[in-house]
């Protein structure tokens, strides 16, 4: 079996990286709560989603080690997200124009 004779082992991620990320996540959480207090109207949902995506990419790339994985993993994730976007987007061609 070819690909993994020489299985590449991940370097352990230093603890402080994780802790820094964690601090960032907490900060962003407070940020969302804060923003939710001031009035932005419709923008509001988008702001929340924006921050949420930043948080999730932090989790995915650092906590979940995606940064260290091969390209295959990243492409896979991208494909999934694209399909997801399509599902949502095309559904709205109905909802918004009914």
């Amino acid at each position: 079996m070819s690909a993994h004779e020489h299985e590449h082992k991940h370097e352990p991620v230093p603890n402080r990286t994780f802790i820094l990320v964690w601090v960032a996540l907490l900060a962003l959480t407070l940020a969302t709560v804060a923003i939710s207090r001031i009035h932005l109207g419709a923008l509001h949902v988008w702001a929340a989603l924006f921050i949420a995506s930043i948080k999730s990419s932090l989790v995915i790339f650092i906590f979940m080690h995606l940064k260290q994985e091969t390209r295959l993993f990243k492409i896979g994730l991208l494909v999934m997200l694209v399909i997801l976007a399509i599902f949502v987007g095309l559904t709205f061609t109905d909802i918004l124009y009914r």
Binding site: H4, N15, T29, S36, H39, A48, L49, I51, M64, H65
Partner: protein
């Protein structure tokens, strides 16, 4: 004598594929959420006021922290610090339990107010609000179920760690259950602002 040969990368990739399916699973509910929000912006705002933001925030912090601990656990086992691994996994599980207890109190409070799927009180509050709470209960419920599964998974694996079945050489099991746990966290990262913070 079917040949099981070792392929850690493959195993992790398989886990990632499984996580994709989980994301799509939840996305079904989030699509419904988006559609209903487009339909009832006002009622959604009003309804989300009824949710206790403090429970929400606390649970967010709990989950983020648990994500950190399990991530640290991976580093620990990679460095072959078994005790530390066990400790960190234990903390993670503890946090999972805290999350669930929190949820229990939150829900029992709301149900106490007569707010639960199919209740008359909800029906009186009108379509938009009903939809909001139905979705809230189903999404949060499904998420809670995942917290339960994730916690159990980590528990089982830590036993294996203690038994020395999962080691610095061969820790894919722990890593995969960690991945699963992070997914639980990810879902909450979106669930929290969408349900608790829409104003």
């Amino acid at each position: 004598m079917s040949i099981e040969h070792r392929d850690d990368t493959g195993a992790r990739f398989g886990m990632w594929l499984f996580l994709y399916t989980e994301v799509i699973l939840f996305s079904g509910l989030f699509i419904l959420y988006a559609v209903s929000l487009a339909k009832f912006p006002v009622q959604f705002a009003e309804a989300s006021h009824k949710l206790n933001i403090y429970f929400g925030t606390v649970n967010t912090l709990v989950l983020l922290t648990s994500s950190l601990t399990i991530a640290l656990a991976i580093t620990a086992i990679q460095r072959n610090q078994i005790k530390r691994t066990l400790l960190l996994s234990a903390i993670t599980i503890a946090l999972a339990i805290v999350f669930l207890i929190n949820k229990y109190f939150e829900w029992s409070a709301e149900i106490g107010h007569g707010i639960y799927p199919g209740s008359e009180h909800l029906a009186e509050m009108g379509p938009g609000v009903t939809t909001f709470f139905n979705l809230y209960y189903f999404t949060a419920g499904l998420h809670g179920l995942h917290v339960l599964i994730g916690g159990t998974l980590i528990g089982v694996v830590s036993v294996l760690v203690a038994k020395g079945k999962v080691t610095a050489e061969r820790y894919t099991l722990l890593e995969n259950s960690a991945l699963y746990w992070h997914l639980v966290d990810l879902v909450w990262i979106f669930l929290f602002p969408l349900y608790y913070l829409i104003l």
